[in-house]
């Protein structure tokens, strides 16, 4: 069995290449949060408390559009629901962990650390293998907090006419690059996008994110069912 430190360091090394896109994401978040009117302390607290890029950007986007707190919180919940699938995969590797470790690891269980450690957990059965996930998560934590901090500082220096808020749709577009290659996904993307755009002014309480997501999922349900019969 490898030493605890070695497994932890392996997690850091394995996750490092995935940290490259996190840097602009963190900077953009820091800059935009100041831009929409959060204080530097609140912005830093968002990264420390929420520690989730997509959650935090959705919060900003809806907050700046004047959505109510209830809609913002439920939209953040909807964005996180994509993680439920991970649970089904990763929980079997972590089932023998003490509850206290599950409580700690949950804070660090972000996309990048999950993606990398899932491979490691599949191949290794040592009982300290979860430290790989902690190493990857901790690396991402350091990068996310420091880029948020830099973004807060840069925020006041970046001119508004650069239109950096356009980085928000680009960042989410980047998360979909693999889905553009699949036909059903493309249909789902178009349906959800159209419902959100045309419903923006008509769906009450700025709940357009949730309504559009449900329309997209419903489309996926219909299309995948037809697919199987054919």
């Amino acid at each position: 069995m490898k030493s605890n430190l070695k497994v932890f360091l392996k997690g850091i090394i394995d996750v490092s290449p995935l940290m490259i896109p996190v840097v602009p994401f963190g900077l953009i978040f820091g800059v935009l949060a100041i831009d929409v009117g959060f204080t530097p302390i609140e912005t830093m607290a968002m990264s420390l408390i929420i520690f989730g890029g997509a959650s935090q950007i959705v919060l900003l986007q809806l907050f700046s559009g004047g959505a109510s707190s209830l809609v913002i919180i439920s939209s953040v919940g909807a964005v996180n629901s994509r993680h439920l699938l991970y649970g089904a995969v990763v929980s079997e590797h972590l089932s023998d962990l003490k509850l206290i470790w599950k409580i700690i690891i949950s804070y660090f269980l972000i996309d990048q650390a999950f993606a990398i450690s899932n491979e490691y957990l599949k191949k290794n059965k040592d009982h300290n293998r979860y430290l790989h996930l902690v190493g990857g998560g901790a690396t991402c934590w350091v990068i996310w907090q420091s880029t948020t901090f830099l973004g807060i500082i840069l925020g006041s220096a970046i001119p508004e006419k650069l239109g950096l808020s356009f980085a928000v749709p680009l960042t989410f577009l980047a998360l979909l690059v693999n889905d553009f290659r699949k036909f059903i996904n493309v249909i789902v993307i178009i349906i959800s996008g159209l419902v959100a755009t045309f419903g923006y002014n008509y769906i009450p309480f700025k709940a357009y994110v949730i309504v559009a997501a449900l329309a997209g999922l419903f489309t996926a349900m219909i299309l995948t069912r037809k697919n199987k019969k054919a």
Binding site: I50, N201, G216
Partner: protein, 104 residues
Amino acid sequence: MSNWALILYCGLITYLTRFSMIALIKKEMFNDRIREILSFVPSAIFPAIIFPAIFINEIGLIEIDDNPKILAAIIAMFIGIFSRSIIATIFSGLASYWFLIFVV
């Protein structure tokens, strides 16, 4: 609700999703059909952020003409499809946008 309460609740819901993933959800709780549907969640939810941010202007109206964000997003999408790189997608989109508003 104060900004602080909003941040705390959003943090709580994000944390609870992650905790339920490793502590509550078991593999057998999802059949293949539910898994298949869940795999579409990113495609169903991210466009709801992407499209309005591109097509809707500051005063809340749909803007198609004279909107450089549309072309920049299309360029970014194609760069993304071919490069499969998150960073190339973001930077090609921003670079095209700046080119369109400052140079063209």
